[in-house]
Symmetry: C2
Subunit: 517 residues, 2 copies
């Protein structure tokens, strides 16, 4: 989901009344970031409070490549990392994850081995190959055991776009909250649904309800679900003792547009990039009776702050034996303070860009390689030349020579946008002369400041000092996303025997994973 | 001002608390349009309820050219047009225009000859040449007489960006409202400030207050002024009998970005174009006690509707002897109805595009000519190659060879955006096979629908019928914006003698005006 997908953030169809109300009753963060422009590293950062380059959720197979946890990934979250639920457990919290885990699917990476007490959901995302015989379909777990697989037992109809997964995840959340309230037990619920990821789906009751197509239907369902969760908290009388935060793991994937893609509002590019569209996220904090209604914060925030903020709420200290990148946002949320801190934009172990205040310096730029960009042959441009005509006759359009639809597009992470020297198709280094943008005057990253201006020199000097400091103290974690092996896929998850769903794994054949982007 | 310039419409700095509150207390229109992508024709349409092609505010000097009323324009609003204040007068309203008139500056076009009772403001915009000896500075009128000129008596400091014009226009509005309230007289106030037009200015107290630079300062001042006007209505106890509507005359001029340019949010291109960024406008209706608070409307609306809606509010009928394009929005505003109607996007007398429901069909596309686009020589691209280096020494950046800033850009109405076959630099006709977009799934007009799809054929067939009907009944007005003559400039406006500000007009030498865009 992207920054621009919510009504409160300016989506022109304004179809998220519940999230908009959540913002009106809570605090809207306009400058909130994920820690990576794609899923797994972003989620690892959220749960550890640390940059992926520290917690190991990155690859060194190529320079500045994005990597995640597909089914054949060998790595996962290292045991040495301290996850939020591990720490909350000590303060008596019951921790549940509902939905997508994405921190590794091999037994040692199971969420219940990393602090969660309950799990209903899947280790990987639901995308393809679909119902393929080459690879197992993604399992859905209840706690320690698989209870079925996507496409088999948990239906996703790719033709109609229908799937009731979000409803299942909603009901699970409502039940968990009820149970905890009844037993007067504090809880941490990580509601990590996988809806709005392509291939997009929604439940039947939401299909066709949006102006925005199937993607909008999915957004409506999420919005409706969040409305129901908040209402449930209120009805149980625990809304004033429950802190709720809404955000996303990366910007909208514009490659799925327009039929299955979201909006990053006025920002450049989308998922997979370190431009604002890839990493600035919608974010709302909600805590009735504590957060003043209608607040708007320009605090530079990060998903990693949710780690530190949650610990603070639980009265816990963050670990002192390691670098934590997240900060405690409570002074921001409760007292409206602004804390000076930079935002680091990484791809792999390369620091691509830094934001300090309203300035963003790019040390490296890359959208996608020319080969990947134009992969599927016919370019967008060529598709614009009509090779058939319609003739107007009696006010009716009669197709005379119908031949083709729109040509397939390549993997373009910046469709319709092209800023010379910025959305580069080769990896461009700007280390000694960073490209600098002022995100207040130029949120879309279209107008680099003049290298010769005083403003440039003053800002870059300040930023360079912070970057030097950051790099000097950085201890990279062991990269987890380098090795892939077909043998480690979800062939026979625990519980498969009961279901008769065990598949035979092929011989182990570990290889370097391929990360083209 | 653009669709994306208000917090309520998703501007990432969210610096318009008063307009956002106005929206929260009233109704937000998400699909509201101007009648032309630039100033004069848009304002003529607002006051006549008619498309510029009908009321004469267009040119036929070239195909599909944008035209307005510079100082040397010979034409203006024809007497035969019925302006909103002319009609309201009959119902006892006192009509005042504060700010920019822009419907012609020669004596016969004076606003007090077209229904207004009072005027404080200027006939033209304040942009350059500035303090030039070749042409007179723009006069400021109080009613029938000039009371000074921009840059001379009404200071605009182009270096600091300081000018107190918006404060003057605000005070004038507050005084007028007080006077009308005291005398219990109904009134129509057309508050048509010229702030946010380049060169951008703001009053001293607003300079430097925005994250967005000088343009943001100007927006903040407008926001603050509107807050004061609404508060004044409330304090006088007449807010429940005063209908207020806020909108803009065209999309943000991206050519002025980033230092003096606004935001069109997720929409394509800006002012001067018939893409959404050029013509979709922020719009808010406010009428406490009548309009339910927090309303959001997807009604396709137009500035021309303000003509019909205002007449309806005054209990008047629209003229029946001519085609009126505006519709009465009261059923939309008060009862939440949705009225089916198309939006026509014109340049000159060419119908460039039509929106019907969520579909927009382009019959012609043009952003700007290649010559104009790259007019100033150095391209944006070449400016990205640094021709000097900075060396990092002790954490400080030392300029070694400083030579140039960013190269000047050409007149690019779509900076950073380039959609193949859509943002064309030659005038491209698509009459027989319109480019079709679904503005719900694709608000940015990036993905034309496949010509071969059923959806395309169904939509285009429907739209074509409406277009045929529209064209069959269209009676174009006499074009007013064809002839220019240095002799008609504001050399000696009435009242100039008293001020000693009469200038000598050159010999009359009428020529075809040049309209390159
Ligand atoms: Ca651990
Ligand atoms: Ca008249």
């Amino acid at each position: 989901m992207g920054w621009g997908d919510l009504g409160a953030f300016g989506e022109p169809s304004k179809e998220t009344p519940n999230l908009d109300q959540m913002a009106a009753d809570g605090m809207l963060f306009l400058d909130f970031y994920t820690a990576s422009p794609l899923c797994s590293p972003s989620r690892a950062a959220l749960l550890t409070g640390r940059l992926p380059v520290r917690n190991g959720f990155y690859t060194t197979n190529g320079h500045a490549r994005n990597a995640y946890t597909p089914q054949d990934i060998v790595g996962g979250i290292p045991d040495s990392e301290l996850l939020l639920p591990e720490l909350l457990k000590k303060a008596g919290y019951t921790n549940k994850i509902i939905g997508k885990w994405h921190l590794g699917h091999r037994p040692q990476f199971h969420p219940l081995k990393h602090g969660f007490d309950e799990w209903f959901g899947s280790p990987n995302c639901h995308f393809g190959p679909y119902n393929s015989t080459e690879r197992p379909n993604i399992p859905v777990y209840r706690d320690w055991e698989m209870v079925g697989r996507y496409y088999e037992d948990f239906k996703i109809d790719l033709k109609t776009g229908e799937a009731n997964l979000t409803q299942l995840y909603l009901q699970e959340a409502l039940d968990f909250i009820s149970k905890q309230q009844a037993s007067q037990q504090p809880f941490f619920l990580y509601w990590a649904i996988d809806a709005t990821h392509a291939p997009v789906y929604a439940s039947k009751q939401f299909l066709g309800t949006s102006q925005r197509g199937l993607y909008g239907d999915a957004v409506r369902e999420i919005d409706d679900s969040i409305g129901k969760i908040l209402k449930h908290l209120q009805q149980l009388g625990i809304s004033e003792s429950t802190f709720v935060f809404f955000t996303s793991d990366n910007g909208a994937a514009l490659i799925s547009a327009p039929k299955q893609g979201g909006s990053n509002g006025p920002f450049l590019c989308g998922k997979q990039t370190t431009f604002e569209g890839g990493m600035r996220e919608p974010a709302i904090a909600w805590w009735p009776g504590h957060i003043p209604a209608g607040g708007v914060s320009h605090q530079l925030g990060s998903v990693m702050d949710l780690f530190s903020t949650s610990l603070s709420l639980a009265g816990l200290q963050p670990p002192s034996d390691r670098q934590i990148d997240g900060i405690d946002l409570l002074p921001v949320i409760l007292q409206g303070k602004l804390i000076d801190r930079p935002i680091f934009y990484y791809r792999g172990n390369e620091l691509m860009a830094v934001r300090v205040g309203l300035y963003k310096a790019h040390y490296w730029t890359w959208s996608n390689s020319w080969e990947e960009h134009s992969k599927t042959g016919l370019s967008h441009e060529s598709s614009q030349n009509p090779i058939f005509m319609l003739i107007l006759a009696n006010g009716e359009l009669v197709p005379v020579l119908g031949l083709f639809g729109m040509a397939r597009r390549g993997i373009d992470f910046c469709p319709g946008q092209s800023v010379a020297g910025v959305t580069t198709h080769t990896q461009e280094e700007h280390t000694y002369l960073p490209l600098l943008f002022h995100l207040g005057r130029d949120p879309g990253e279209k107008y680099p400041l003049s290298f010769a201006s005083e403003e440039y020199q003053r800002a870059v000097e300040h930023i360079s000092g912070l970057v030097q400091q950051h790099k000097a103290t950085l201890v990279p974690g062991q990269p987890q996303l380098n090795v892939c092996d077909q043998a480690v896929m979800n062939w026979s998850p625990p519980g498969c025997e009961k279901l008769g769903k065990c598949l035979k794994a092929p011989e182990s054949d570990p290889k370097k994973c391929s990360w083209p982007h």
